[in-house]
Amino acid sequence: MLAFLLTLGALLGVVIVLAYAERKVAAFMQDRMGPTEAGPQGSLQAVADVLKLLQKEDIVPAAADKKLFKLAPILIFAAVFAGFAVIPFTPALVPAGIGIGVFYLLAIVSLDVVGLLMAGWGSNNKYAMLGAMRSVAQIVSYEIPAGLAILSAVMVCQSLDFQEISYQQGALMNQFPGLEYEMNWLFGIEALGINTTTIGGITTWNIFRAPILLVAFVIYFIASLAESNRAPFDIPEAESELVAGFHVEYSGFRFAVLFLAEYSMMVLVCLVAVVLFLGSWNTPLPNIGPVALAYWTSGTAGEVSSIGWGIFWLLSKTFVLLFLQLQLRWTYPRLRVDQLMHLCWKVLTPIALAVVLIAGIWRLLMI
């Protein structure tokens, strides 16, 4: 219960920051100023928006399928929020440290699709319906390259436990029960003879342990953009065509929940990308001889120092990825639906399959 409340609170905080950042970043990239009035530099704008939304009338269209309509936002948010349960925040802190975390995450986040379809269908609105159909088609398609990219990371790490994957990517690896005698080699190739087990830092991140995972990371990042309906894959809510997509009929608190779910999804996919490919809560600074930067910036596992450092590194890496998501939104035009499917099925999926194959071979080299 405590983990639930803490995660929810942290998530709300991050989403508020993200909503504000989105407006400011968008404004700066378009030579505007963004919000300036509410609070210093407009920093309370997101809070004001939420308060406004909560005061609004809760409108349920007369012709809507009321049960589906009312249930959909809760289901969508619950599906996304449940995904946070398995994300390790620090070496010692993970809301639910289950052994099949990756599998659980993929499965629970897929429930999102059902919620979207419920919202679109229940609204009894052509735009909502079209938006939901597009959204579902897109998410289901992009789960394949995303899943394959995650699979290649899992193959290299030989684990479905997010915490074990996290430990493997840093200098603290041997402290994890079951990994006491594991070794990290530069680029994962033992034949090179450079042992990075105690060097840690960026050299043991998954994208360096097995450089093929860099390709997997790019594939996963592109697919995750599509899964969270972000530009340039935002045809499900293309403002200029569909008003707002599946949530066009929602107002007030229900809209706030959908909005929250959307931003939580962004945060979740970025967290997963960081945990699987970019070293999780591990520091990027390596130990260089006597200058033990990695140990200094990791803290001792289980103590306050490690919680602080772990959350700091995890969040800063996540925010870099989130900033990239925002920048992509304001840089690239929206893909047409056929281009979207072309990219998924004819480009990303074959490459992801090849990456899975190479990752398997790489794993053989690592032993």
């Binding site: 404004a27 700066f28 990239m29 378009q30 030579d31 505007r32 100023m33 920048q327 304001w330 690239y332």
Partner: protein
């Protein structure tokens, strides 16, 4: 002229390059968002040369200066006004309302030396009707009615768009009218007396 086929560049690396250059462009704008456009006067040589930074002007707090010959809200300097009514007559939209009362005593001169002979109990300009043609300023013999650079004067109540320029309070105006009536009565009486005297003589 010989036509050449346009070759479109294609290929993986070309696409990657163009995607990265797009990101570079937005990044450049993001980085330059530290700078702000300065509210330069139109004649400043930097007026058109501010490509970097945010273009937004936080209007109520800052504004680009108005040119010297900007023609916005009307102002009447009532001390210099001889209440000749020319502006009201020339106004194409009849936005100026003037009532005049002859002065019974000497009320001084305007700043350019013209003798004032009339009071103006009413000198109203309805800025909601004004079409900013500036004709009133050109006909004014004493240059007392002018156009100022003030352009932000919208009001919630349209009645507040009527500007009152008279320097007389209603009581004073009433007093001046009474004085005039009394003077005219006296003059009429004097005239009648003079006429009667002539008839007798």
């Amino acid at each position: 002229m010989e036509q050449k086929a346009i070759k479109h560049k294609t290929g993986f690396w070309y696409v990657v390059k163009s995607l990265l250059s797009g990101l570079g462009l937005t990044w450049k704008h993001f980085k330059n968002a530290r700078n702000r456009r300065t509210p330069e006067y139109v004649s400043d040589e930097n007026y058109f040369k501010q490509p970097d930074g945010m273009a937004t002007l936080k209007y109520p707090y800052e504004a680009i200066p108005v040119p010297d010959n900007g023609r916005y809200r009307l102002h009447n300097e009532i001390d210099d006004c001889i209440v000749c009514d020319l502006c009201a007559k020339v106004c194409p939209v009849n936005c100026i309302t003037i009532e005049s009362v002859k002065a019974t005593e000497d009320i001084g001169t305007t700043s350019d030396g013209t003798k004032k002979r009339l009071y103006a109990p009413v000198f109203d300009i309805d800025m909601a009707k004004c079409c900013y043609c500036g004709l009133c300023t050109t006909v004014c013999p004493t240059d007392c009615i002018t156009m100022t650079p003030v352009y932000d004067f919208s009001e919630v109540d349209i009645k507040n768009m009527v500007y009152h320029f008279t320097d007389l309070s209603p009581e004073q105006a009433e007093e001046k009218k009474l004085l005039l009536a009394k003077q005219q009565e006296e003059m009429a009486a004097a005239k009648a007396a003079a006429l009667a005297a002539r008839k007798q003589g």
